[in-house]
Amino acid sequence: MNKDNVNLKQEPSFTLKVITKFIKEEVSKYKFSGGVVALSGGLDSSLVSLISYEALEGKLKILFMPYGDSGTSLRDASKIASILNIPLETYNLKEIADKIFLERKIDTNIRRGNILARLRMNILFDVSAREKALVIGTSNKSELLIGYSTWYGDSAAGILPIGDLYKTQVRDLAKFVGVPSEIIEKAPSAELWEGQTDEGEIGITYEELDKILYLYVDMRLAYEEIVKMGFESEKVKKVIDKTRKALFKLKTPIICKLSSRTIGIDYRYIKDVGY
């Protein structure tokens, strides 16, 4: 196997069926009346909105939270709303975010991006409480594994239906489900600041990132073995390094063990208990 024939393709109708059933089962298991998705107009949230709508037989709220003039995002989010024929609840973060930026002297892109992500999380969970709707997150496996998300921001959710799909797999599934092509084709961006793109910021294309992650995580290949397949050693090293540094975001906060049964360590229950 070399870098060109690493194959992440899935049978899309089966994947779609599993995810649809998952959303339906989780929402009913926890006795929510429906779901709510923060829709940015990007690929992940568009796909999750379409699948959730089907899974929940229309019992879905979509929430659009731009910062100022959002360019193509409004157009694309509106397009999803019109496909689903449900209202797009909009809350512009500009005013409140600018106030915080100014008063708290927040002047770097990364800090501003984090503030925006956590403001969105706040509003999203409030809609969840108002509507008794489960927060359906839109994180994918690529960004989760390398920690390309804001802790307790965009990664905060009740369930992550596409959390085990790499970005390129999300793209394939989106094509199958019928996400409009302009949404599929635009450069992925967390929209933390103007002109930002994921691939520019991470420094690698999703095509390559996903293959390296797949080989390292799913196929359990070692660094040397992946490099031998034709990937640049610097890139492989960087990706593996990112996965290690991201682990803290993927777990419950570390608890200092003092008792005989400690949360996260030996207090062992799955979340389904009690439902």
Binding site: N7, V18, I159, K271
Partner: protein, 273 residues
Amino acid sequence: MIISIAQIKPFFGNLEKNIEKHLSYISLAKKNEADLIIFPEMSLTGYYLKDLVPSLAIGPDFSKINSIIEASLDIDIVVSFPERDNSFNFYISAAYLKGGRIAHIHRKVYPPINGMFDDLKDFRRGEEINVFSSKSIGCGMLICRDMWHPEAVTSLALSGAKLIIVPSAVPLRSISQTGPEIKDFIERSVRFYAEHFALYFVFVNRVGFEEGICFYGGSVAAGPSGEIVLSMSLLEEEIKFFELKEREIERRVSILPLQFEERKDLLKGRFYE
């Protein structure tokens, strides 16, 4: 012999609701004149019990499931649950109920502990694999991971089993361009075992999710020529039936009498005492 497979989604951690569900499928099977109904692994409780095991375990007194045991007066039943013995050990077990009593219990002999599996943290290993009589043919049970070990299947087959029942809780893992890879692996194994040992091999999987883990269904049974005699849907709860034809076993054995050639003596002292 009509065999029904109840590919169910158990309620997690709720024995009462699961007993109700079992009884309703049992009555449906009876209406369809089935002789045997088989439920999947941990059908009475759900699978990822972890710290719930002690409070949900059944045995050594089985009165908690009396209503199901009694239902076996009219139809044979295979159910599965966490079992506690009288020394307070826990096992993943499957019981063959017949004539209003427990005819046989199999304790999972290969409870896995790897990746998403934690069985060995909570359960001990079963120590035996035995053949017993079901209706008029020799029968053996394995649970889930047990069937991935050819020596477990071989042991039952060489001891005379002509019906092997495998209640399972197999989760979905990778999906390829042709669908769930695990399904192909299971089907290959089921057909291989059935054909080589000239027996009916019945894999009974569950459906539903437990904390994101999807049990994919796809229960499948193969007959003595390796033919698929029943294939169930992916992901859906359902009950289906097939007929076990003893004549087909007899015919297959006369065409290819492998079982008369078996050389257990060759194994002696090599792998086993």
